[in-house]
Each structure stands twice: as C-alpha cells, then as structure tokens.
Amino acid sequence: MTTCTVEKPRYAVKTPYNLSPRIQWLRDYYFQGVQRAWNNEYTSWTTGAPWDFQYNELSFYIVPETYAFLQTFRSAFRQTARRVALHPDFWKWSLPERRAWFNREVMVNYLPKEILPGDLLAGARFNVQTSCCLNRQEARRRDQQIYGPDGARAAMLWFHNHGFGNAGATSGHLIPDYARVLREGWKSIHAELEQRYQALSPAEKRGKKGAQLRAMMTAATLPRDLAAAYAQECARLAERETAPLRRAELRQMADNLTRVPWEPAQTFWEAVQSLWLTHMLVMADENYPGPGDSFGRLDQYLYPYWQKSIQDGMDPEFGKEILKCFWIHCNTAYDGMIRTGGNQGITAGYGQLFTLSGMGPGGQDMSNDLTYVLLDVIDEMSPILEPKPNVRLHRNSPDKLLDRVVEMIASSQGSPFLLNFDERSMAGMLLEAKKAGVEPLIHENNVHDYAPVGCLENTMVGNDRSGTVDANLNLLKAVELALTGGYDLVPFTDPMTGKTDKPLRWGEETGDPTRFETWEQFWQAYAAQTRHIVRRIVELYEKSEAVRARFHPTPYVSCLVRGCAEKGLDITEGGAELNFVTIEAVTFATTVDSLLAVKYLVYDEKVCTMAELIQALKDNWVGHEILQARALHKAPKYGRDDDAADEMARRVMELWTEETWKYKTRSTNRQFRPGMLSWNYWVADSFILPASPDGRPRGKFLSNALCPSNGADINGPTANVNSVGKALGGKAEDGRGDWQDYFNLLPNGGSHTMTFNPSLLRDPEHRAKFKAFLRGYIENGGTALQINMIDADILRDAQKHPENYRHLLVRVTGYNAYFTTIGRELQNEIIARESHQMR
C-alpha cells in the first residue's frame, strides 16, 4: 500500500444539510431507533372475547418471507393485547360499526398523546393491531375460510410452492381524497354521510347499507376527537413551557388542532397538520401501517395554502420546517416492529409516495413554487426512507425542473426519487377506461390527475383502489407448463416433511412438446398455459378477497374514497368508484428470452431437439454447459432494440394483458388489470422456479419487472429504453394512440431500473446530455424509471461475479471496455477511481 494525499471524494455519500437544530434533533433522534425513549411500535388491543384476534394474515400473503410466521404473529399479538372496555351495546352492532367504534376508542381514549421536543405536528401513535371485532360466529366462519383444507392459506401456499407466484387481499395502496379533507374538513364528510343516511328508507336503515353509513359516521368523528385530545396536550405543554418561542408554537399547534382536520384548513401549517392526522389514521385503520398509502399530487393540493401563508408573511424556511416535521412523522411507520427488525426495525418500504409536477389540463406543466420547495426538502433531508418522492415528467416539463432533477441525481449516487412519465402512463389509464368501461371516470380531460401509489403504480386519486400488489404472477410458469404439457418440470419437495409431490397435471393439456413440428405450435401451447395461469391467480385471489370483503371492513378509509358513501359499501366490498385488482406480472424478460431461446435453439437454428432442451432444464443445465452457453449468448434477447426480439416481447405482453382484462372478482366485482411491479419476488422466486430455456439455472435471479434480463442490454441505455417502450406497445405510426401517439398495455405501469456510469454527470455539458436522455425517455421509454449509478461496490461485485457483469462497460473519454475482460490490476485502479468524484 502506498500513502498518497487524499483528494476530495469523487462520489461522496449524500448527507443531509441545511437542517435547523430542531430538525437535526428530530432526525438524529429518529435514527437512534431502539435507543429512543419514545417510539411508535405496535400496541395490540382486544375486545376480551376468547376468540378475538388482531392480526389479519391476508395482508401478508404477498410477503412469502412471512409465511412461516403467520401463526406466530397471530398468537403474539393476541397474547400482548390489552383489553378495551366495550360499549354496552357493542355486540348488538354490525361488524363495521364495531370496528369503527373500537378503533376510535383505542386511538382517542387508550393511546397516549405525545409531542416530541420541537415538533410542529401532532399525531404520533398509529401503529396498532386492533381487534378484528368479530363475534364468535363470524370468527368461526372466517377461520374456516382461511384454515380449512380449501381455505385461503393452503391455496396460497400451494400456489407459491409450485412457482406460480402469490396473491392476497392486501391493505393500503391507494390515494385517499386528502384534498377534500383540506378543502372541506371532516365536518363536510360527516355531514354528507348523515344526509345520505337520513335519505334511506327505514328498512335500508335497519339493513346493511344503514349499518355501513353509521359505521362511517362514527369513523368520521375519530379525527375530530383525536385532534381535540392532541390540542389539549399541546395546551398543557404550552403552560409548562418556559421558552417563549416554543410556548407560542405549542399554543399555535393547539389552536390549529381545534380547527383541523374537522374544519377546512386556513393556513399551510393547518393544512399539513390536517393531512398528517388524516393520513396516520388511514395507516391505523388497516392494522398494518398500510403499505403504499400515498399522498398523490402534494405540490398541487397544498399549493393554495402555501401561497396564502407566504402572502400572510410566513417565512418560507418555516414552511419547510413544517414539511420536515412531516417527513419525520412519515418515517415512524417503521417503528412497527422496531425491536424485531434490524436497521431501525426497517423490514420493508412503506411506500408513502407523493408526486411532484406533471401535466395539467391541455398539456400544460403544473410545476409551481411549492414543487421546488419540496425538491429542496427532499434534497436537504435525504437520505431518508419516507415519504417516497416521485417526479412526473412530460414533453412540456420545463428545463428548470429537469435541471434540478439531474442535479439531484448527480449529487446522490442515484436518483433520490422515482421518475414517472406522463404520456405513456396516461395512455395506459385511458386504455383502462376503455377496457373497464369507466370512461366517465377516466377520460382525456381528467387523466392528467392520475398519480402513482406505493412504488410506481398508476391510479386515479381519491376514488380508486387498484389492489396494486395484490396478485403477483410468474409468467415464466407458463413456459414451464408448455414444456411439460401441464406438469411441474421438477416435482415440488416440501422442505419440512421431505415429501415429494406425485406428478399431477396442474396446467392445460397442451400435448407432448417433443412432437411439435413448428415454433407456432409451441407458441400455442404457451398461450394456452398463459390463459391457465391467469385464471389460476384470479381463483386464488378470490379466496382472500371474499374473506376480507365479509370480515375486515375499514370504515375510516371508506370515508376518504369517493363511491363508498354513495353506494353504502365499504371499500373492502368494492365501494370505490374505481375498483381494480392489479395482476403484477413477474419474470417478463426471463419469459420473453426463454421463448426466444426455444425458438432459436429448437426451431430456427436446430441447435438441439426439444427433448434435449427439456432434459437440460431438468438437469439444471449441469452436463449441458455448451447448450446453456448458446442459450445465454447466442439466442436473441429482449432489451437490445432488436425489432424481432422486441416483437416477441410485445406479443407476450399482449397475450397476458388481454387475458387479464377478462376477469372480475366474484365477491366484489373488481376488474383485474395488468401491471409490472415485481417487488422483490424476482430474487426469491428464482430459487423456486426451475432452470429456464434462456440459460438461467435455478437460483439465478429472474428478470425484474419490465427490465431486460440482467446483463442482456448489450447495446446500451438507449437500446434498453427503446425495447421497454416497444414491449409496452410503442407508438402509433398514424399518431392515433391512446394518448397522443402513445400506447401502453400496462395501465398500472411497470418498473424500470437503469444503472449509469457517473462520468455521464460529471460536468454541466454532460448533465445537459443526461437531461436530453430523460427527454428521449419521455418519447421512447416506459412509465417509470429508477436511476442508479455504477459505484465502486458494483465494480467489486463484478470482480467477484464476472458472469453477472459480462457486458458492464467502463466508459471513459474516448475509450470503453468490458470491465470483466480487463486485468485485475486495472480493475482495481478503476474501482479506486470510481470511488472519487472528478469535481
């Protein structure tokens, strides 16, 4: 080792800046994790009935990591549950009324009200596991539907074990009508419910509809009562406070809370307070800090309050201070299991997504002062996990916005936000409107109001539940079933019992593929199996959807989603105006590449027979390395801007999405729609699905969402982007797409991640080129993009696993080389170089 002077790091890890002592303290305190005196970990509450339980496992059917613990969680929350003294009439009420009352009772009368030092917002304890409030008979029926031999749990396990994917009726993943709460206050929501209730006939009042509206009315008073309790606490603290400034703040907070969220917000501070309290109760209502409970277009609906308060003399820095408190509050969602998870209890992302900028009526750009303020807050607070920002871009996005976006990407080793692309996204939403027959609700004049939830899933706002991670389907299973005529390629062996399944045909009988004479015959078999696996996931989903609809109402959330009050239906029963369940396809590129490989190896080039290929897959490619190499390196692949390969991608996309549109849930009449999120399943399920014809052995990661297979995009980023756009349907040559000239077969959108070399952002000239690349993405790409930068860690991993980084280019002025093909010494030099920034 030599000693040299150390230059400024080339890519310094992003650190927060411009934090006031108040925010610095709150942020530092948050990151103390379990060391904190205060936290927001789950508390559990019971009716005291012997059959009572809190944990609703349906929400976790999409999290295979938890399958082994479902019973443990249920028992643990039961055992630690504290008893709530019930209203004398409690058991006479309907289930939704019981839930609404119980939750209000816990939140208002049982949980402590606390304000952290210096905090400008009230509303702290929201991670709760409250009783499901079932009576004995309901609990028995519900458990039968879950635990019986044909129950939801067994079906879910079978489906997952056999490599199809997973599905379950999951909480969260919507954008409630927060804008209405700010504008009208809960008072108005309550009044509307009251009015609708009074309009019912006596028979209706006695029936289900009456019960639902009464439950929602009770729920609508929860934020009022909780705000009153917090107002009291603020007033109490103000009395004891000796510092005059803080005393004034606490008095103002008490004052705010006497108005909002019951009354319309009048100031920016009140608006953020109203939003937070309303939002945290959404998180509380589903007994799991709802993943993907999202804010929608924050810079749009908060803007009038920002403008007014600035006009009235609010210091913009103080406005940012309020927002930074909001940031901290969002992160306390992770306190749920703070003692069990490492890393501050962070076990998963909660995806409280908010959206900035984007298109308005007539294609105009909607960026405003608050957009840039919020970008500053993101920059000054990051790295921090919540809330998750998403910036919407479109053809008319101003240079000022793109400059700021690129500057933030350059300074943070990857984008601190997701980018969403309006034209492609809106084309998908308009396709959805046509397919589902909901044109009055989604049309050319309002589709710009869409916003993504969770990670990137596009929905409408305030009236839409699209169940965006509820069903996750491995498309690759259809290739496997086509290769076997409907059987598992390798029979499933239970790791607990060691028992191996008898070979049974699960899929369609599509015949012996070794007798197929043409590629088209194989394609037909694949198509039949695709139709089969789509039907199967629809059937699986129905089981948990029916249980949730009957036994797990969420009257509070229902108050915030248009349609529920009108129909007198809970959101879990399909009360929302827009009701979808999204099938998120996983393994897209692996599937496309596998089909391309079958076509290339067996039919076009006749490198091997079908029988040889099937044997190689059964042997996990062991002993067939030459054939595997041909599959990996000679067969065409999606992601290279190769029109023939991308046409295969589009054909696969069209087939499974068309099939998806054919189904609705029976219990709740929700329309299935297609998307491609694929969360982390592409990693875990790679150990379940056997070897695939694209050359992948079992255990090698599947492809992620819409992305080309790892390392397949050998023609660079623009080729990768062009392929993704084509797979989604591309553009109409005659200009008549679903939005302008754009098509998009995935209304939900699809996740697309790209990694870039940092040298692309090294100076203003190159940053301008990157900005132009993003504008090119608007034209040719997908719906959403996550940007990573190649860093020293990636290069070190490439040294260890060169096979995964075959095409990793190291680009330097005037020359570039495949990283894995250069000598070790040079590799080390490049790694050392990548750890620094040029300026």
Binding site: A629, P717, N780, G814, I822
Partner: protein, 323 residues
C-alpha cells in the same frame, strides 16, 4: 449496395461531439500512433480476439476453423494470426461468445436503420451520428453514402478524422458533414513521423484546405482534438505550438480545442490481439498534470474558453488490496 467494414456502434455516446450521439467505429487507419487507444481499429482486415474469462474450454472453435489456425496452449487459445483470414467461423461457432470477430461488413441501409433508432435522443439533445474509427476517410464510398443517408433523414453528422486522406475524399464527405473533429497530435513534423509513422505535412495541408472550405461555405463546424500522451504530445512546447498555430490560422473558424487525457483501458486489448504496447506501464495522468496541460493550452494564444480537457485521471488514494 455499398458496404463498409466497421468495428461496432457506440450508442449514447457523449464524448464524440455535441449532444447524444451514436458513434460508428470504422476499421482501418493510415497512422500508426505509438499510443493508439483502439488497436483493433488499425488493421483494415477482420481480426479475431479471444476472451479468456468467457471461454468454456469446449474447443468447438478448433473444429470450426477452416484453416486450422486455432490451437489450445498452456495459457489458453492460440490464434495463428499469420494464417487467420478473419472469416469469423470460429466466432459464429463459439457457444459462449468468447471469440469476437473485429470488423464486420455491413450494408449502408442496414446501418442507417440501426442509427435511426436513436433519432429521438439526437433530437432532444442536439446530437447525431459521428463517424470515427479507425479512419472513416479510408472507406470514402461507404462514408459518403452513410453521411448522405443521415442528412437525408435529417440527422446531424460529425466526421472524426486524423486528417490524412485525399482532397477528393474531403470534397465528397464535407458537403454532408455538420461537424469535423480534426486531430492535431504534434506540430513538429519529425516528432509526428516518429510517433505516428507519418509526417504531419499532408494533415496540415488538409486542415488548410478544410479551413478554406469552411470560409467559403460557413460550415461545417470544427473541433480540434489533441491526445495528451505523456512523453509524446503532453509537453508544454507541443501544446504551446499547437495553440499558437490554432490562434494564427483557425481564429474564428474553430469552436473547441479538446485535450483528451491518456487512457490505459486498452492495455488488455493489445494482449488479446497479440501485440505489444509501449505504453502498457504508463500510468494515467494525475489531475494536477491534466490541469497543467489545460492551463498551458489556455495561455497559448487561442481564446481560453475554447480549450477543454477531458478524460480519466489517476486515483490518488491507495488501491484496496484484494482480499
């Protein structure tokens, strides 16, 4: 149909002219620069190269070679380069892509179709297509057809040249070229001959011809590029001389003078081609050295804002040892 021989396409190229470009690397070069960063582009003939890290050791290639040029030695595949005709049959046969054929023949229309796939990015960035290499002017028919086709499609074009070609070739290419990237490596003719194998007289005459063309036509745009090679071009005297020359002769006709730092990424490329490289052990420049060159160039008489130094510099913190 006109065909040409190219190495490969570089899409999202950000170093060969304005905006986002696709760079077409032509095969074959009339110079023999001692420091050449693209040794695979020197010979106009197709060549094969072998990547040890990708090789399965299956020996499929040995059987595929019609001339028996391949054998397996202690350190891997041996290519008898004297007998190899570059037919590419071994590369086609190799299941793992461990053998690559450098230099493929492609039709103009086929190449145009590929280049137009990134039209959206050219348009959003003010970019286009750059012909580079190797030396594009060595294939004038192909280069002319390509440039013409691009201009007809409305795509901006750049020609990256060492400057050594006939005037007739320049006359054919310049009408379809929006930007010329012209190399001046060394101003002293003897030094130029010593390091590149040819004198720079013809190159400077072509530059004068180009300048005259620009004066008459008010186009194309012109960038001068100088590689910064330690011990060869990267000395103060050479940079001052070039800068002075540019100030004297190119004033008002030049929009950029790029200094491109020495790069060692091609070291293993030489080994793969069975060539030795005088610069194999030369370290990258330090940031201070690069900045010094930039300062010298800026003080040489040319408008300082036209000077731009680019390229990788040496890491100064200690390398991590392998564990």
């Amino acid at each position: 149909m006109i065909t040409g021989r190219i190495l490969h396409l570089q899409r999202l190229s950000t170093e060969d002219g304005p905006g986002i470009r696709t760079t077409v690397f032509f095969k074959g070069c009339p110079l023999r620069c001692a420091w050449c960063h693209n040794p695979e582009s020197i010979s106009p003939q197709p060549q094969t190269q072998w990547f040890a890290v990708r090789c399965l050791g299956c020996n499929t290639c040995l059987e595929a070679c019609p001339n028996g040029c391949l054998s397996r030695g202690q350190d891997g595949l041996l290519i008898d380069r004297a007998r190899c005709e570059g037919c590419g049959k071994c590369a086609d046969a190799c299941p793992a892509g461990a053998i690559e054929l450098l230099g493929k023949t492609i039709r103009v229309n086929e190449l145009l179709a590929e280049l137009l796939k990134d039209r959206a990015y050219y348009e959003t960035s003010g970019g286009g297509v750059t012909l580079s290499g190797g030396e594009p002017t060595l294939q004038p028919d192909f280069a002319e057809a390509l440039l013409r086709g691009l201009k007809e499609a409305g795509v901006s074009t750049a020609l990256d040249t060492c400057g050594l070609c006939s005037r007739q070739t320049l006359d054919r290419l310049l009408p379809h070229t929006d930007l010329v990237l012209f190399d001046i490596k060394l101003l002293d003719p003897a030094a130029h001959r010593r390091f590149t194998g040819v004198s720079n007289e013809g190159i400077l005459q072509n530059l004068a011809y180009l300048l005259d063309y620009i004066r008459r036509n008010r186009r194309p745009d012109l960038w001068i590029r100088t590689p910064l090679i330690p011990g060869a071009t990267a000395d103060d005297a050479n940079l001052r001389a070039i800068g002075g020359y540019l100030a004297e002769h190119l004033d008002g006709l030049l929009s950029r003078w790029e200094l491109c730092a020495f790069n060692n990424l091609c070291r293993d490329q030489y080994t793969r081609l069975g060539l030795t490289w005088d610069y194999a052990q030369t370290p990258l420049m330090t940031r201070a050295e690069l900045e010094h060159c930039e300062q010298v160039a800026r003080a040489s008489g040319l408008r300082p804002d036209l000077v731009l130094a680019t390229g990788a510099t040496r890491a100064v913190e200690p390398l991590e040892s392998d564990s």
